[in-house]
């Protein structure tokens, strides 16, 4: 894919309004020390549960019962992870406090990846096309249609869920990955709104230069404007991916079997499969960690972008 040579204008990256705010430097007053102490407490409360997941996942259930307050893993073992991933025999699993039910975590992981990727890819591509039409093309009824889309922002998700379930059922897509993805695959009002804002801010000259070179508007969109929009598109994509990955209610409605079960739903089922002896906490925490890991990795790769995007995408 070659970009037209006329495209020399630097891509206008939408930087969040940054007035150079600097913290007011003061001596180590009592107030500042107190403020830092509060901050430290907040960080502790935020992060400690993550450590506790890891510590529990690496312990044995017997060890947890014997020494619940030990800050380190009790009788360190990978048994929890093996159970969560279905690598243990039923007998072994039950002996270690698991439910012994089969759980195909790789399957759920794949389902989650498929659904989230499908939603993110399609939603953002189609929303970008619409956003371009709303921002850059001239057609009758444009503002009316856009107004209608915006009004869609007002409808809370809960309200469309039941009728959407009825529709998906009538389409025969219950217990199907496509059925999970479909309702948000084409657009969300927010995505259209968000990308339209960006396209509106690209100077006309950029587009005109390409048009003068004889490129059609479709070509201009795909070769010029869409590449220029890569920053907001990626930002939106990451947030959409996280949202799709974490969704529970809708997939719970639509999926009934392993074939369409995503990680969030599988995890809740794992939690509900309480064995006779008590909850398999170490297996459950291992499963939790596996379910959360992809988002933590995503965060590791794009932390800066995600953090700044929350302010920029603003009010979602």
């Amino acid at each position: 894919m070659t970009t037209p040579t006329t495209m020399t204008a630097p891509a206008p990256t939408p930087t969040p309004a940054k007035t150079a705010v600097r913290p007011l430097r003061r001596g180590p007053s009592l107030g500042r020390i107190a403020a830092w102490a509060v901050m430290a407490a907040i960080v502790l409360v935020t992060l400690l549960p993550f450590y506790w997941i890891l510590r529990t996942a690496l312990s044995t259930n017997a060890g947890l019962a014997a020494d619940p307050a030990n800050p380190l893993p009790v009788h360190p073992t990978m048994g929890g992870f093996e159970r969560a991933l279905g690598l243990q025999s039923t007998k072994e699993a039950i002996a270690q406090g698991g439910a012994g039910g089969s759980l195909d975590f790789w399957r759920y992981l794949l389902n989650s990846v498929v659904v989230s990727t499908l939603i993110t890819g399609c939603q953002i591509f189609f929303s970008a096309m619409a956003a371009y039409a709303f921002a850059r093309l001239r057609w009758r009824g444009r503002d009316t249609v856009f107004g209608l889309f915006l009004a869609g922002l007002m409808v809370p998700a809960i309200f469309t869920l039941l009728p959407n379930f009825v529709l998906i059922k009538q389409l025969g897509l219950v217990d199907n990955l496509l059925g999970i993805a479909l309702p948000t695959m084409f657009m969300t009002p927010f995505a259209v709104f968000f990308l339209r804002q960006f396209f509106m801010n690209i100077p006309r000259e950029v587009e005109e230069a390409a048009l003068l070179d004889g490129a059609g508007k479709v070509r201009v969109f795909f070769r010029v404007l869409l590449p220029m929009a890569s920053t907001p598109v990626l930002t939106l994509a990451i947030l959409t991916y996280i949202t799709a990955w974490n969704d529970y209610f809708w997939p719970l409605m639509v999926s009934y079997s392993d074939s369409s079960r995503v990680l969030t739903v599988a995890l809740a089922i794992f939690r509900a499969q309480t064995p006779q002896t008590g909850v398999d906490w170490s297996g459950l925490m291992a499963a939790t960690l596996i379910a959360a890991l992809p988002m933590l990795v995503l965060f590791g790769c794009f932390a800066r972008r995600i953090v700044s995007s929350v302010g920029f995408t603003g009010i979602k």
């Binding site: 940054k18 007035t19 705010v21 913290p23 007011l24 500042r32 901050m39 935020t46 992060l47 549960p49 506790w52 529990t56 619940p68 307050a69 096309m129 619409a130 039409a133 093309l137 057609w139 249609v145 889309f149 869609g152 007002m154 309200f159 469309t160 869920l161 039941l162 009728p163 379930f165 529709l167 059922k169 084409f186 657009m187 009002p189 006309r204 587009e207 005109e208 508007k217 996280i242 974490n246 529970y248 209610f249 719970l252 409605m253 969030t264 995890l267 939690r271 925490m285 959360a292 933590l296 995503l298 965060f299 800066r304 995600i306 953090v307 700044s308 929350v310 603003g314 009010i315 979602k316």
Partner: protein
């Protein structure tokens, strides 16, 4: 090129109608099929008796009459409101505190990242983790409670504790996100104002009430509306921690709606309750918008 700089921007030729239709078509399809149609259909279904198996049968206002006379509905509405009140009160204050601390103490992006991490977890993961931490017998939370010399608290198994506990679990997951939204709002306040106030000898507290709060108000209003709408739809955490129990103490509205639809196959009744929820949310949005004068900003 000298001409180019002075002439008004050339409008593209009129009438991109066909192309626009092509570009809007997929999004339009999604909008009509999965947003507009379900909205209308949801209202329609609320006037029917419908169990998915046989065609919907028009029953007029029956579902609404039933709803008004259903003590469980009112209970679940009360529980939901209780949840929302605790969730919003704690979350807003905590998010504001975090945002201000982030702004006044440091510009560290790492700290902002840390604050956001729980947001990456799903509600399901957050629910399960806290279920474990707060476990009566083995949870570290209760170990600490016991270590401090108190009786162990059955956080999620007790009628009084369950809703506040679920509200706080969701605060843990969402407060960072809210804080960053507010932080972004704070960034828009010119630093000169703080400098000037400092020269005048204003304390941090005074600056907070005189500068930060008034100028942040529009952002705060929008964030509030957003979080109220979000928290009214609590479901995931309840589903994995208490399943509505003990004794309906955490039977929030959305959980009751889900149960009516998928547990008892009363889709018509469930739809009527969804309409009620929609009305409540619209009313709150409207009221909040008016009360906080969200449209106005004091910032020039």
């Amino acid at each position: 090129m000298t001409v180019a700089s002075t002439r008004p921007p050339v409008r593209p030729p009129r009438g991109d109608g066909a192309l626009a239709a092509l570009f809007v078509a997929p999004a339009m399809l999604g909008f009509l099929v999965f947003l507009l149609w379900p909205t209308l259909r949801g209202v329609y279904l609320s006037f029917t008796r419908f169990n998915l198996l046989t065609p919907a049968e028009w029953v007029g206002l029956d579902n609404y009459v039933r709803m008004v006379n259903d003590p469980i509905f009112w209970d679940s509405l009360t529980v939901t409101v209780e949840y929302v009140a605790i969730n919003i009160a704690v979350q807003t204050v905590a998010a504001l505190a975090i945002a201000v601390l982030l702004q006044r103490l440091t510009q560290s992006a790492v700290l902002r990242g840390i604050v956001l991490t729980p947001y990456l977890m799903s509600n399901v993961v957050a629910g399960i983790v806290w279920l474990w931490i707060l476990d009566t017998q083995l949870g570290i939370g209760n170990e600490i409670v016991a270590g401090l010399g108190f009786d162990r608290i059955p956080f999620l198994a007790d009628e009084t504790w369950a809703i506040p506990t679920i509200a706080l679990i969701n605060v843990w997951r969402h407060v960072g996100y809210t804080a960053l939204l507010l932080f972004a709002g704070l960034q828009a306040i010119p630093n000169d104002m703080y400098e000037a106030a400092k020269v005048d000898g204003a304390s941090e507290g005074r600056m907070f009430w005189r500068i930060t709060m008034p100028l942040l108000r529009p952002v705060l209003a929008v964030v509030l509306i957003m979080t109220v709408i979000g928290s009214f739809q609590v479901f995931d955490t309840v589903a994995v921690t208490t399943s509505g129990g003990p004794a309906n103490a955490t039977n929030v509205l959305q959980f009751y709606i889900y149960g009516s639809a998928f547990g008892r196959f009363q889709f018509g009744y469930a739809s009527a309750m969804s309409v009620a929820l929609l009305v409540v949310l619209s009313a709150i949005t409207f009221l909040q918008y008016r009360l906080t004068r969200a449209g106005h900003t004091d910032l020039g």
